[in-house]
């Protein structure tokens, strides 16, 4: 009878947008009401919050796993590039973090 619209089962995708710059020294962390968790049944990382869920794709999950409030964005990018033998991830990470901040998933430690 209620439409539980806050169960979002669509994947979050990285997309281009023009949001504020994120400095390499910023230290992102999940806001306290959010919980990142591996779900065996869905074979996916999910972000849980009051009465809601977002199913994450792999890049989104890999970035959010590293948002611990102490790792700086520069280090986070370096870690991802090393782990996945990739280069040039900076702009993708910045865009994702901007979007995650806009959605209220993360905040930045001062």
């Amino acid at each position: 009878m209620r439409s539980r619209s806050r169960i979002l089962t669509t994947q979050f995708r990285l997309r281009r947008n023009e949001l504020g710059d994120i400095t390499a020294g910023a230290q992102p962390r999940l806001r306290p009401m959010y919980r990142l968790q591996w779900e065996e049944a869905q074979q996916a990382w999910v972000l849980l919050y009051p009465e809601g869920m977002v199913r994450l794709n792999t890049p989104a999950a890999e970035i959010l796993k590293r948002c611990n409030g102490t790792t700086k964005v520069g280090m986070l990018v370096a870690d991802l590039e090393q782990t996945f033998s990739a280069t040039g991830l900076q702009s993708d990470v910045d865009e994702f973090l901007s979007e995650a901040a806009r959605r209220g998933w993360i905040e930045f430690a001062d």
């Binding site: 009878m1 209620r2 439409s3 539980r4 619209s5 806050r6 169960i7 089962t9 306290p32 009401m33 919980r35 968790q37 779900e39 065996e40 049944a41 869905q42 999910v46 849980l48 919050y49 009051p50 009465e51 809601g52 869920m53 806009r102 209220g104």
Partner: protein, 380 residues
Amino acid sequence: MAGSNSPIETSRAGPPLWLLAELTYRCPLHCVYCSNPLDFAKVEDELSTEDWKRVFREARALGAVQLGFSGGEPMVRDDLAELVGEAHGLGFYTNLITSGVGLNEERIRGLKAAGLDHIQVSFQDSTKEVNDFLSSTRTFDLKLKVAHLVKAYGYPMVLNVVLSRLNIDHVDKIIEMALALEADFLELANTQYYGWAYLNRDHLLPSRAQIENAERVVNAYRARLGGRVKMFFVVPDYYADRPKACMNGWGSVFLSIAPDGLALPCQAARMLPGLTFPNVREASVREIWYDSPAFNAYRGESWMREPCRSCPERGRDFGGCRCQAYMLTGEAANADPVCALSPEHAHVTDAVERAQAAAVTAVRPLVFRERANSVIALSS
């Protein structure tokens, strides 16, 4: 059942991601729009602590991840913190959905220690007068106290206010109240007409002007506040021309367990005739979710009739709400008559037409959700 040459596929069910535990139908409030069944008084045999724990384990093993503790008023269960602890240990995100009554500081602390993730507190209005009238209690001041405590203990807080003709004009004051209480989310939940709300529909359904005004106010606050308080405001389905995607589809993500163990695809489904709903006392959650005839009855699309059956939008709204189709047309498999394409849409437009009048002309006075009225509902 549709033949095997049906052009419409039955989709395979995913896991029940959302588990709603209606721990009890007991409640100190008497809200006129209560979603509990009219005959709630006949449900007396509540599940035990151990029963609930088993249900949580079985549902979690299937992939359930959100767990709502609801009712009635879940605080009347003395084992609530124990149940929250079990659910938290299993990895659920745990939500308490409460009127606030019974939630004192000691219990808030105990629930925090047990791992409760979030508290949703309901208000009936931003004014003491209307809050206390609609719930037929003196609870407004208590709710304010509870909301402060919820924030003081660091919980994310959703304020839930059910909107109707009787309070929707206060929406600006309700938003101001949510801001003052530092709510993280505000759910401006337009009444849905089931249970007691259906009985009281002529008193509760707002006029179009009221809804348009409320929407304007909400949008103005959204523009001003940015992301400070997330506000949910969904236009009531009686004023839409397409039905809501009720429960995201029957047996799709949502599993509700009633106080007596009855397993339901939504809290209202108990009213539907011709279905035997399974009980967690007699079957496992896996059997109930995947194999029971009741959970498969309206799953997928093979049960649909016209105009849904050939409708290009059937995958978006799933034909709307089965309970609403049953209540208004007498057949659960019909299109939800909220849909302008339903041949029985007039059931909705007639009610909406009546709601435009300045004065309510209801066939009966407002009925409060009370045990005595539940018994009357039973015998009538």
